[in-house]
């Protein structure tokens, strides 16, 4: 592919990525939101985080299968406890990495 082809491809991808990121912010931030929408949006972060995380912990990706014995899941338990006790984001990331690294020697 030539430079122009890449520019067209990435320009198109960039546009369809940017619009969903921008339109709600540009529109909703200048509106008085109804209370039900605010209440609903309050629950979106916890739902999205959980939805992003759960398949990583409980399922294989290729092919997609339920797997309750993944090292990702076993490491997640002490990592979650650490996050709960310390409430430190950086510390949790490092502890998770260390445990996952150690788990690599066992599995």
């Amino acid at each position: 592919m030539r430079f122009v082809d890449y520019l067209m491809l990435f320009g198109g991808m960039g546009l369809v990525t940017y619009l969903p990121r921008a339109l709600p912010l540009l529109y909703l931030s200048h509106k008085q939101l109804p209370q039900w929408l605010v209440d609903w949006l309050e629950l979106i972060p916890v739902a999205i985080l959980s939805a992003l995380l759960a398949p990583t912990l409980f399922a294989d990706s290729a092919p997609r299968n339920l797997n309750l014995g993944k090292p990702e899941l076993l490491v997640a338990i002490p990592t979650l406890i650490f996050a709960w006790k310390t409430r430190s984001l950086g510390g949790t990331v490092l502890v998770g990495m260390l445990l996952y690294w150690l788990a690599g020697f066992i599995f």
Binding site: Y6, L9, F10, G11, G12, M13, G14, V16, T17, P20, R21, A22, L23, P24, L25, L26, Y27, L28, S29, H30, V38, D39, W40, L41, L43, I44, P45, V46, A47, I48, L49, S50, A51, L52, L53, A54, T56, F58, A59, R64, L66, V75, A76, L80, A83, R87, S88, L89, G90, T92, V93, L94, V95, G96, M97, L99, Y100, W101, A103, G104
Partner: protein
């Protein structure tokens, strides 16, 4: 040139919040760069893609599709669907950026990713977090992404796989941010429900619709439950 201390403070606060994201981006970015190089993309195209698109999963899919000789319109359409979930994140962020100028928001929107969204929402809710700190987080993450993907395209094949458990950095970050979000029974229930629905959806339906589908259903269920509980009082 003197640098006003208030700006230095904003930069420092932004960097403190952003470093776990940057750390997590490195292994993923390197991997993306290596795959892109193997698929025949020059390093400058990788840098260009990361700067223009800035969306990890869509970029991985794009590389796979380019390697399979899929047409440009199909790749763009797929990207659109993969990144639709940002509609939800952008809507949720609007609550904390009410009344901010559209010029700022136009720039801010560029950096709305799963990771920056999660970090900034947590900070906004905790209080003492401003839009400039949030913008700093977006752009530091973006810089780390461009740097790591380009590095991957240039020297990636020499980097050992999975060194020091760095592949777990983003998972660890999401776990901690999830814990921060659990601020009551309704949040816990919504999170558990989203996990169950997303795993089921992920196993049954191919593609990425499980993220939007399960988070919207879980939030709706949680909202209805909360309303019912409040009426019962």
């Amino acid at each position: 040139m003197s640098f006003p201390s208030i700006q230095r403070n904003i930069l420092r606060q932004g960097a403190t919040a952003a470093w776990p994201i940057c750390l997590g981006y490195f292994p993923i970015g390197l991997a993306l760069g290596v795959l892109a190089q193997q698929a025949g993309l020059p390093w400058w195209a990788v840098a260009m893609m990361s700067a223009i698109v800035f969306a990890g999963s869509a970029q991985f899919i794009c590389i796979a599709m380019l390697a399979a000789d899929v047409s440009i319109p199909s790749i763009i359409l797929t990207t659109f669907f993969v990144n639709l979930r940002h509609l939800l994140m952008s809507s949720a962020l609007a609550v904390h950026l009410a009344g901010v100028s559209r010029r700022f928001l136009a720039l801010y929107s560029y950096g709305v990713t799963d990771e920056s969204f999660a970090v900034n929402m947590t900070r906004f809710r905790a209080g003492g977090w401003g839009r400039w700190q949030a913008l700093t987080v977006n752009h530091l993450a973006n810089s780390a992404w461009i740097l790591s993907t380009t590095t991957g395209a240039l020297v990636g094949q020499f980097v050992p796989q999975g060194a020091f458990g760095i592949d777990y950095a983003l998972t660890g970050m999401f776990i901690c941010l999830l814990v921060f979000q659990l601020q009551g029974r309704i949040y816990l229930l919504t999170g558990l429900l989203a996990a169950v629905i997303s795993v089921g959806w992920y196993l049954l339906i191919p593609g990425d619709s499980y993220i939007v589908g399960s988070s919207m259903s879980a939030a709706t269920f949680g909202y209805l439950l909360k309303r019912r509980y409040q009426r019962g009082k």
